[in-house]
């Protein structure tokens, strides 16, 4: 059944064993993606967005450990693979781009060197062929005068141009999955618009799937097919982009959508913030992690983690209120 999925993460648990204690970064995270699908992951800082994505690439930082669940990508069982095996698929079947391209580009090598190296690592192209391909790639990501750019160093390029180079490197081997971790957060909006446009164009052309991690609800609204909302290391709501924006069910998602001011507002309306502060993952609450900030919090919310409330094939939440509403309608499940 799961063979139609490109990504199938089931019940992932991952903790960081720090001197201060166990940071439960991921608690029972399940995500699946079909080929060519664009999934957005949104949520507060520290909710586990990056950790989820990196674990899928076998890039969990020390002292992090996968302590449960299974991660399937493109018929590879990721948790059973060695670093050597992972290196083969990283950059070829799955690529990642980060927020700050400066940290992932090597300042002492030319752009050309860095692209050629990736190509030669994953294909049997000769250096000359790889150079040709590098030129093509720069053209593909909209960089003018590619021959000249190949000879330049990262610091000689603007932020937007560096991010294009990162995308070129990520796409060098036409991966099936591109993970983008806040790819435009460090860029200006006009440059962000260029990069997002480029990513969508390339997705159409190459048919890859994208996991888009961002805190910007505007970015997911315009790009994604589906959205996972994370809170304290859990996916607390998952649905189509329209579900999340027009029919949010979880109190956190509702709050999130209400708390952003809209550029197209026609009168001044007071913002509705989510009160309180984010969770301390060293001491997470016993029940629903959002309970201490939730207006609708009930007794059970403080005691027990809410099970899945399923609305349709796609849309679900983890929320006792939703559970109760369904019960009243006589359609409780799981």
């Amino acid at each position: 059944m799961s063979d139609k999925y490109l990504v199938d993460i089931k019940n992932e648990r991952l903790s960081f064993f720090t001197p201060a204690g166990e940071v439960k970064a991921l608690n029972d995270v399940s995500i699946h993606l079909e080929p060519g699908e664009v999934l957005g992951i949104v949520g507060e800082s520290g909710s586990g967005k990056s950790v989820t994505a990196y674990s899928l690439m076998g890039l969990t930082a020390n002292p992090g450990k996968l302590i449960g669940g299974s991660l399937m990508f493109n018929d590879h069982q990721i948790e059973n693979m060695t670093e050597r095996e992972m290196r083969k698929i990283r950059g070829s079947e799955v690529s990642i781009i980060f927020q700050d391209p400066m940290t992932s580009l090597n300042p002492v090598y030319t752009i050309g060197n860095q692209i050629v190296e990736v190509i030669m690592l994953h294909t049997d192209k000769t250096r000359k062929e790889a150079k040709e391909r590098a030129k093509e790639l720069l053209e593909l990501v909209g960089i003018n005068e590619p021959s000249k750019r190949l000879k330049q160093y990262p610091h000689e390029l603007s932020g937007g141009m560096r991010q294009r180079v990162m995308i070129a490197i990520a796409l060098a081997c036409e991966p099936k999955l591109l993970i983008a971790d806040e790819p435009t957060t460090a860029l200006d909006v006009t440059i962000q618009a260029q990069i997002l446009e480029l990513m969508m164009e390339l997705k159409e052309k190459l048919g890859m799937a994208i996991i888009m991690i961002t805190h910007d609800l505007g970015v997911v609204a315009s790009m994604c097919d589906r959205i996972a909302v994370m809170y304290a290391g859990r996916i607390i709501e998952y649905g189509t982009t329209d579900d999340i924006f027009y029919n949010p069910k979880h109190m956190y998602t509702k709050g999130l959508i209400r708390s952003i001011p809209r550029l197209d507002a026609t009168e001044h309306e007071r913002l509705v913030p989510i009160e309180g502060t984010p969770v301390d993952l060293l001491n997470p609450p016993a029940g629903c992690p959002f309970a201490p900030r939730c207006e609708a919090c009930m007794k059970i919310c403080l005691r027990q983690m809410p099970p899945k409330a399923v609305f349709d094939e796609v849309h679900y939440t983890h929320c006792w209120l939703n559970q109760k509403e369904m019960m009243e309608k006589g359609e409780a499940n799981e």
Binding site: S45, L217, D242, L271, P273
Partner: protein, 329 residues
Amino acid sequence: MSNEFIKVEHLKQYFPAGGHGKNKRFIQAVDDVNFTINKGETLGLVGESGCGKTTTGRSLLRLYEPTGGRFEFDNNVIFDVENKKFAKMDEFRKRMQIVFQDPYASLDPRMTVADIVGEAIDAHKLASSKQDRYDMIIEMLERVGLNSEHANRYPHEFSGGQRQRVGIARALAVRPDFIVCDEPVSALDVSIQAQVVNMFEDLQNEMGLTYLFIAHDLSIVKHISKNIGVMYLGRMVELADSFEITSHPVHPYTKSLISAIPIADPKIARESKRIVLEGDVPSPLNPPSGCRFRTRCKYATERCACEVPQFKEVSAGHYAACHNLDACN
């Protein structure tokens, strides 16, 4: 008496960038910027990274020696470079404060919250006794939604939103009437941003504060500002009422800036057409002649290369600097 509490005319701030004598080079960080803010109101400043927003705010507070222009604050001339008039800042320093973007970097990690707020009170000798000082600290903390329990804690014990509150309490402690808010919510989570933005609004209403509110998120700026100024490469290209400028921008740069902002509404996002700007912002060391936006502007004509467009009123309270407003509207 005008109610123009803040009046900025032809503000220029250049920074030396190497070279000697005739070859001395300058970064024209702010070049001929004009605006006014009425008492108790907010002017938002937006524009791409490096366009001169922070420099504008900091030069008003005299954190730099202004290169040119004139700044009047509550009918006092703070500086008038042309006429070599510079006010003694002691009196005004306390009335003008700044809140920074990064709540981490702007708070001393070795000081308790009480010390941080208290330091500002001491610097301006505002407290008459120890008890008075303590009461003032607690009052400020309560104003920003913290309380006496927080007073003896250190910055690292707080979340980002709480730290930003501490930074604001510090600025408020000296009872300013003008605050430059430089990206005060940019580093915060979306759900926390709304808390802090509401607090800025409440404080303004309660204390009659005047804000220069700098941010790159136009939705937030629109929400909090009466008027918005859009900067590009050191110059103000458009200024108008916040609803007017977001619904009827007239300058080609503002138009593309607004269309580039992703709207958090999937149906609108799918339908809306972006005006994607080509290329990058040119270097402020060597800005284009004439209109600085011309290298990315699809309406640019020959005139745009040789003549600086005047910043003029196109309709009541709506200002723009462009030679070809007719062509692009």
